[in-house]
């Protein structure tokens, strides 16, 4: 029942883009089971998902619903045990080898022995770019996240919010069309989080990238997304897919509007229903 709903909603959103060139993620009946000492854990169960170019898709759900696992399968950090998934028309492994995405982790995960500029340079060095190209990309992406002037600082000299911005610049420096973000602002306080949400919205609007964003905050998901995937746990599955047709360019004030509150309400209902199902 829920799977059909999810597929309906997904095809509804992607209805205008039948052309495969616009399809960034395509997952069908994706399953992932971890074998543990307490028996198998179904982290993902029959997940169907489509993401089109330029979308901002949030995965939302309680802990253990598989939202991070799904993101890690897309990034080829985990392997699905059943089902099919393609990223940019390739297998996740091919996409990873072609550096098709940038990944932002829950923590900034900056290397403490490298300066901010050095951290942004890390993927560029691995890609084998020459020095001039590296310098150009470092400057451009640090400016994009408002960190110009902090090139020579070390990560531990910066605040948590600035560190996370640097890690976003590092992911952007690879110049991927797809940005995967795993609760990037989860460890930050409310004020910094609001501010970074606004900046991320502007960044997405300006660069026209596809973003997949994992969160467990409803306002964050509604504020940022064009599509919200509501997930529920045990087994991890897609409960509902909610379209979020707010204007592309958003300010924090939008959170007071009826449209926003209506969508937030639907997300909350979806989360609650997912839980009720679990309690039975």
């Amino acid at each position: 029942m829920t799977d059909i709903q999810a597929t309906d909603a997904a095809s509804g959103a992607g209805g205008t883009a039948e052309d495969d060139a616009f399809r960034v993620i395509e997952a069908r009946e994706l399953c992932l089971t971890f074998e543990t000492n307490d028996g198998p854990v179904h982290a993902l169960s029959n997940v169907d998902l489509t993401v089109d170019r330029g979308e901002f898709v949030s995965f939302i759900g309680p802990s253990g619903c598989g939202k991070t696992t799904l993101l890690r399968v897309i990034a080829d950090l985990e392997k699905a045990t059943a089902g099919t998934i393609s990223v940019n028309g390739m297998s996740p492994e091919e996409a990873r080898r072609k550096r098709a995405y940038g990944y932002v982790f829950q923590a900034a995960a900056l290397y403490p022995w490298r300066t901010i500029a050095g951290n942004v340079a890390l993927p560029l060095e691995i890609m084998g770019l020459d020095k001039a190209e590296r310098a150009e990309r470092i400057a451009r992406n640090l400016e994009l996240v408002n960190l110009s002037g902090f090139e020579r600082k070390f990560p531990w000299q910066l605040s948590g919010g600035m560190q996370q911005r640097a890690s976003i610049a590092r992911a952007l420096a690879v110049e991927p069309d797809l940005l995967l973000m795993d609760e990037p602002f989860g460890a930050l306080d409310e004020i910094v989080r609001d501010h970074l949400n606004e900046q991320l919205n502007q960044l997405w609007d300006r660069t026209n990238k596809t973003v997949i964003f994992v969160t467990h905050s409803i306002p964050e998901a509604v504020f940022l997304s064009t599509k919200i995937v509501v997930m529920s746990p045990r087994p991890g599955r897609v409960h509902d897919v909610i379209d979020c047709n707010l204007p592309r360019e958003r300010t924090l004030d939008i959170r007071e509007t009826p449209e926003f509150l209506e969508i937030a309400h639907r997300v909350r209902d979806g989360l609650r229903a997912g839980h009720a199902y679990d309690d039975e």
Binding site: L77, F105, Q106, P112, W113, P123, I126, F154
Partner: protein
């Protein structure tokens, strides 16, 4: 709190007065101008300690007076070697307590001075401690007439050291420059290389590591006679002992360090499609640096011990271990101590330079920044 006189000042003052009283009443006391001068300087230092208690200037003045007093305190022994009585020991204790007071004051003053001066004070304090250790050693050995075979005075060791510089240098070259350096570089290098190989091979990790952990706990110095049989009497057999001693600590520590990077950091490298060698060089080896330096530091002392002790089992007629074992047999204990001093100096310099290199390379580590 600030009204009361500190215990060190009280005890030192009492010791000073007691010393003077005994000196005056006892019939066989040794008199000299040095005794009076030392007593006068110590008395003024205690007066100063009571009157002017706070600030870096007071602490430094106190320190200066106390160390000025140390000169006649040692000089007085010359007027009666081995005949020092209670009057002298009381004065010595009083001097030691005055030095203690000055260091306490200096530590307190260090909190209110700029960081650069604080760093200088932090270096000065262990230096003062070392100076008084040697002063008391000198005073006790000479003042109480302790036989040289049991414990020579530092001044005697110093004299011997200066007189036998060419021999000490030859021994140093033989033991340190040849056996220690060659064995250390080889042992650490092979240990490091093996760790990289073991890290790549699960079979080696399962098979070699339990053996490695066991061997690193064995007293490897026991193989020294076997090494002499294998590699001859010269430095090569000592270097071989050092190689065996340093290999396993390096192997075990490097392996531990290679697994020090977090899963998230390794995932990050995976998302960049980084190769094995890129991940190794840009992430895992850097994270392993504190562990590798730990092994390098442990090995610097192990190497020196290994090289010196293995010379006890057969050597040409040069080398620090050889000199120690033969001179002790000839009762030339001052020469033994001179060798020990050279070994201590070389070992500290070795260890210290490793610490300096470590600080520059791991400035980012939470323990250093």
């Amino acid at each position: 709190m600030s009204r009361s006189v500190p215990l060190t000042v009280l005890a030192g003052g009492i010791a000073l007065l007691a010393g003077l009283a005994i000196q005056i009443i006892s019939a066989d006391a040794v008199w000299s101008p040095s005794y009076g001068l030392a007593a006068a300087l110590l008395a003024s230092s205690y007066l100063l300690a009571i009157v002017w208690r706070h600030g870096a200037a007071a602490a430094f003045l106190l320190l200066a007076i106390v160390h000025l007093a140390a000169i006649p305190l040692i000089g007085h022994i010359g007027h009666g070697e081995g005949e020092m009585g209670p009057a002298y020991w009381a004065l010595l204790i009083s001097g030691w307590l005055a030095a203690w007071t000055s260091v306490t004051r200096l530590t307190a003053a260090a909190r209110s001075v700029p960081p650069s001066a604080r760093q200088a004070i932090n270096l000065l304090i262990p230096f003062v401690f070392g100076v008084w250790l040697i002063l008391i050693w000198e005073a006790v050995t000479r003042g109480a007439g302790i036989p040289q075979v049991l414990l020579p005075a530092p001044s005697a060791v110093w004299a011997k050291l200066i007189a036998s510089l060419p021999i000490l240098w030859a021994d140093f070259v033989q033991t340190f420059m040849k056996a220690v350096i060659a064995g250390y570089v080889l042992g650490c290098g092979i240990g490091f290389g093996t760790a990289i190989l073991v890290d790549r091979s699960p079979f080696l990790k399962r098979g070699l590591m339990p053996v490695g952990n066991m061997v690193s706990a064995l007293p490897i110095i026991g193989v020294a006679p076997i090494m002499v049989m294998w590699f001859g009497f010269d430095w090569q057999s000592k270097a071989a002992v050092v190689v065996i001693m340093t290999f396993f600590p390096m192997l075990v520590n490097t392996l531990e360090g290679l697994s020090a990077s977090s899963a998230m950091q390794r995932d990050l490298m995976r998302t960049y499609a980084a190769s094995y060698s890129q991940t190794l060089l840009k992430l895992r080896l850097v994270e392993a640096l504190p562990f590798i330096f730990n092994a390098l530091k442990i090995n610097s002392t192990l190497a020196l011990i290994g090289a010196i002790v293995s010379e006890f089992f057969g050597t040409p007629i040069v080398g620090m271990g050889f000199r120690i074992s033969t001179e002790v047999g000839r009762m030339n204990v001052d020469m033994v101590w001179a060798e020990i001093a050279v070994a201590a100096l070389a070992g500290s310099a070795f260890y210290g330079s490793l610490v300096l290199i470590e600080r520059t390379l791991t400035f980012w580590h939470p323990s250093n920044r």
